[in-house]
């Protein structure tokens, strides 16, 4: 088997944070890969929910969109979008919201709206979608994204969804009762918020990753937990399952269709 790539490492480390009992609101992209890998390995009974209304879905390939038909075909039930956001998300039924981001700051605040000024943006990004309420209504938030100076910034250009604000008890002061970001898994490290300041600190480095690498790809001064561990490497089962999932997904999305039996 070829060596594990940083992206694969990220997905596998993120998947491990999920358990069988979790009810997860799944963001598209890296979070979707991690959630489905968890389902295909150690958490077969995990409940995956996509914002299109599919509850308890188990797709064979990763969906390109949050509303691919297979999500509905394999779901326990499919509800309307207003019901999804009112009863299930706002109603407090979801334990984990799993998000990606274009920009993130040290307190887990996320920007997917604009780069630059809102009215005259340098780059207009897609916007928040479900994220503003996912960030405040799910029991807790996991985030997964690759590290880069563009993405890990001192100050985000727009508060698409609220993490820990300026830190400390900022969430509570806004009347938010959920935990917010509790985990950030990147291609280099695993981060968790400091219990007091709520600033993300590195709790484990992936094998072979140096502190210099973490700092070079992060726009703020990186802080470390008192004990920094080494992230356990992927098992063969995790890596094989992830690669098979990606291979099936690639075949399905490139337009390759099953050929008819002769």
């Amino acid at each position: 088997m070829s060596p594990v790539t940083p992206t694969e490492f990220m997905t596998i480390a993120a998947a491990r944070a999920l358990s069988n009992d979790d009810v997860v609101f799944v963001g598209i992209g890296a979070p979707s890969a991690a959630c489905n890998l968890a389902r295909l390995t150690h958490a077969p009974d995990i409940t995956l929910i996509y914002e299109s209304g599919t509850i308890g879905t188990a797709p064979e390939v990763l969906p390109l969109s949050i509303g691919d038909g297979e999500l509905c075909d394999t779901a326990v039930t499919t509800v309307s979008v207003p019901e999804m956001f009112r009863y299930w998300l706002q109603g407090g039924r979801i334990s984990v919201g799993f998000l990606g981001a274009a920009q993130i700051d040290r307190f887990g605040n996320i920007n997917t709206t604009v780069i630059g000024d809102y009215d005259t943006p340098k780059t207009r990004l897609p916007g928040g979608g479900g994220a503003p309420e996912i960030a405040t209504s799910c029991g807790k938030i996991f985030i997964t994204m690759k590290q880069s100076r563009r993405g890990f910034v001192e100050k985000i250009d727009f508060f698409t969804s609220f993490g820990h604000g300026t830190g400390g008890d900022d969430r509570a002061r806004l009347g938010i009762t959920t935990e917010g970001p509790v985990l950030l898994v990147t291609d280099l490290a695993v981060w968790k918020p400091d219990p007091e300041t709520k600033e993300f600190t590195v709790v484990s480095l992936h094998p072979g990753v140096t502190r210099d690498q973490v700092q070079e790809t992060c726009g703020w001064t990186v802080r470390y937990a008192e004990t920094v561990e080494e992230t356990p490497p992927p098992t063969d089962l995790e890596l094989t399952t992830l690669r098979d999932l990606h291979a099936r997904t690639h075949a399905a999305h490139s337009g390759a269709r099953p050929t008819a039996a002769a």
């Binding site: 209304g53 390109l64 979008v81 009215d119 928040g128 479900g130 309420e133 405040t136």
Partner: protein
């Protein structure tokens, strides 16, 4: 009461320049054939509402027919950005557009409020979110019983809602199956509704009693448009054309290439081409 019409007639009779129009369908059942007819008829100055603008709004915006967009996620799902919309926002090409941006939760609940005949939607949302500062239609109210601060947004009440559905029966009732999104709310919130369908059947035999059916008296015009959701999909009929979504990213990246594509595939095309496009995407195709 639902009138069976051809697509051109259904669009011409129900949508006028300057209207507020919602073309809905949450990834699934996006009314592409109807949007292309709207473009062919050059009905402009539209205020468009849609949770996830998708390719059809990229096309309407790129053709200069849109003055304002009310939305919550302007991406090409799973692919990236909407490049024609970006060009309009960042460079004013082919014309500037006004944006009113919300979250999904707000949009979904604003449609629901529209359908429910309420002036606004009230919900727990936008806490700490930057949109509050840039969208004056996001406000706050106190719960009269608990004092909790809640978000409020105006109800959505389109002049016209356009959706695509699997089938209608001969009476004009409309059946939607699979990911039903926000279509029922969007239709009931609107003054008029136009529906394109994959097929018209004699009756809805063996339908589950809780199926999502819009009775004929909630719909103004029904047009048969087989394949009309492509490259989106129609559950039970044909799959999503993911490759086309990936391809759109390249087409929309360049103004000239976009205009050439629109000329060939929309302006000089007929609704019937959608049927051919989905031929290879049907479940029984191989």
């Amino acid at each position: 009461m639902a009138q069976f019409q051809d697509l051109a007639q259904a669009i011409a009779e129900n949508i006028r320049p300057g209207d507020t129009v919602a073309l809905e369908g949450f990834t699934h059942l996006i009314p592409h054939a109807a949007a292309h007819e709207l473009i062919r008829q050059q009905i402009g100055d539209l205020t468009l509402i849609r949770m996830t603008p998708d390719l059809i709004y990229d096309q309407l915006i790129g053709m200069g027919l849109v003055k304002k967009l009310i939305f919550s996620y302007a991406g090409n799902p799973g692919v990236g950005l909407l490049r024609r919309m970006r060009d309009a926002v960042e460079n004013g090409w082919p014309r500037p557009i006004e944006l009113e941006e919300h979250s999904h939760s707000a949009m979904a609940q604003a449609y629901e409020a529209g359908a429910a005949g309420l002036p606004c939607a009230i919900f727990r949302g936008y806490k700490g979110a930057g949109l509050k500062a840039v969208n004056p239609n996001i406000r706050e109210v106190a719960c009269p019983f608990t004092g909790e601060a809640l978000a409020a947004v105006p109800a959505l009440r389109p002049d016209v809602t356009v959706i695509h559905a699997q089938r209608a029966n001969r009476r004009g009732d409309v059946l939607i199956e699979g990911i039903i999104g926000v279509q029922k709310e969007a239709v009931l919130a609107a003054k008029r509704a136009v529906v394109t369908v994959e097929e018209v059947v004699e009756d809805f035999a063996d339908l589950h009693p809780n199926a999502c059916v819009l009775p004929r008296w909630t719909v103004a015009g029904i047009a048969t448009a087989p394949g009309g959701a492509n490259p989106s999909y129609a559950h039970g009929y044909y799959d999503r054309d993911n490759a086309a979504y990936l391809e759109w990213d390249k087409i929309a990246a360049d103004r000239d290439r976009f205009l050439a594509w629109m000329e060939t595939h929309v302006l000089k095309a007929r609704p019937e081409i959608f049927q051919d496009r989905v031929a290879g995407l049907r479940r029984d195709a191989a």
